[in-house]
Symmetry: D2
Subunit: 133 residues, 4 copies
């Protein structure tokens, strides 16, 4: 499964190079994976209430072409790997109008609880994540 | 009392108008008031641990002249008014090199606890805040 | 006329008080006014290309109730006042599900050109803005 | 050479997990490399005026331990590799008080001009960058 999130580039996203500031792609990745989970029937907000937290352990982004103010971009999110107690997401950011690939990225997350102990992914959540293949 | 915080404008602060994006001044105000409190011997981090929280109730900013990438700006913070359970801070942002006034602002804060109930300012904190006059 | 923009609160928007950080409302206001202009047939991106820039001269926000992670909020934008070479927008932020008013705000903008000179609002743009009453 | 930049974690940096939001480390990396260049006698602002721009081509971060509100962190910046027309920076973020390593990261930058053409690093700049070994 792949989830597409449409985002309109705001003025706040830009910097004086007239392009989207590089750190903001990671905010888009976050929005992408939250919506991806929602599309699988998983609310990250509910997961946190159930003491299941997904911090970011690694994050990377390759910048291919700049995004500009007022562009509509698509953030495509996919699961790359599902471990016993971790998950990897990969992302593509495209210009929606031209389909040009702007960036690719990846984030890796352990499943932990509030005491910051690693926990196995609960079965009901694993089932939903696995259907995404 | 007045507290001066020096901030170097980063690329992240700018937008495609080649100036600091307007919302970022409010981040500077936050940094200004945290350092102001520290200069009075008050750690906002400790206050929160003691269940004393200062959310923002009102915030305003007047923009006089733009700040640019790599500028050194000074954020001058003062207490304007100290109520029984509220506080108002006022701010001036200046270009450090030219002393030009870039912006003025104000924020108003109730003192609340984690249950979001308004609380009177504890005496030890009031004493420190009052010395700032 | 009034324009409604729906925004999903992201993790990036929150702070350790578990609510949306106060400066981020100003980013929402920006997104609200850009979409408001678009709804009137005005592209702010095109306006900038025609050397018509709307920086922020004043901005204020009153915070009534907090927004939380994953909330859907509505940003309602209206023109409050249209001068010869300036415009005031007012905003309301509501929780979409509960209709609770979370914040109100205002921004004031001169129309300037790249040389930072104030310019009269061109007739074609004024006509579109005026239809919004 | 290694450059140490001290940063005080602000409320704006945090998220509702009570830690610094992951994308903000990339803002710290930017501030680290700008100050690193300054320590070598290179003003990035001046480089841009001379039509020499360093966008980010790749960025990555490994998160080891969280940073919290009001922490003092050190951003240690080094050059990892200097090409004919590219440069790689590596970063370490430490808690200043405890010396605990919080994160490591890397960014890769081509040297381009405003027309987005890759350019060789000018000799005077290369000389300064090379002294950093």
């Amino acid at each position: 499964m792949e989830h597409n999130l449409e985002i309109r580039v705001s003025y706040a996203d830009t910097d004086q190079m007239n392009v989207v500031y590089y750190a903001n792609y990671f905010v888009w990745f976050e929005r992408g994976r939250i919506e991806y989970l929602r599309a699988l029937g998983l609310s990250y907000k509910e997961m946190e209430k159930q003491n299941l937290i997904l911090p970011v352990m690694e994050a990377s982004c390759f910048y291919k072409a700049p995004a500009h103010f007022d562009d509509l971009v698509l953030v495509k999110t996919k699961i790359k790997e599902l471990g016993n107690s971790s998950i990897n997401f990969i992302y593509e950011v495209l210009n929606k109008e031209t389909s040009q690939l702007l960036a690719t990225g990846e984030t890796r997350h352990p499943f932990i609880n509030r005491e910051r102990k690693i926990v196995r992914i609960p079965d009901d959540i694993r089932t939903k994540l696995a259907t995404s293949d």
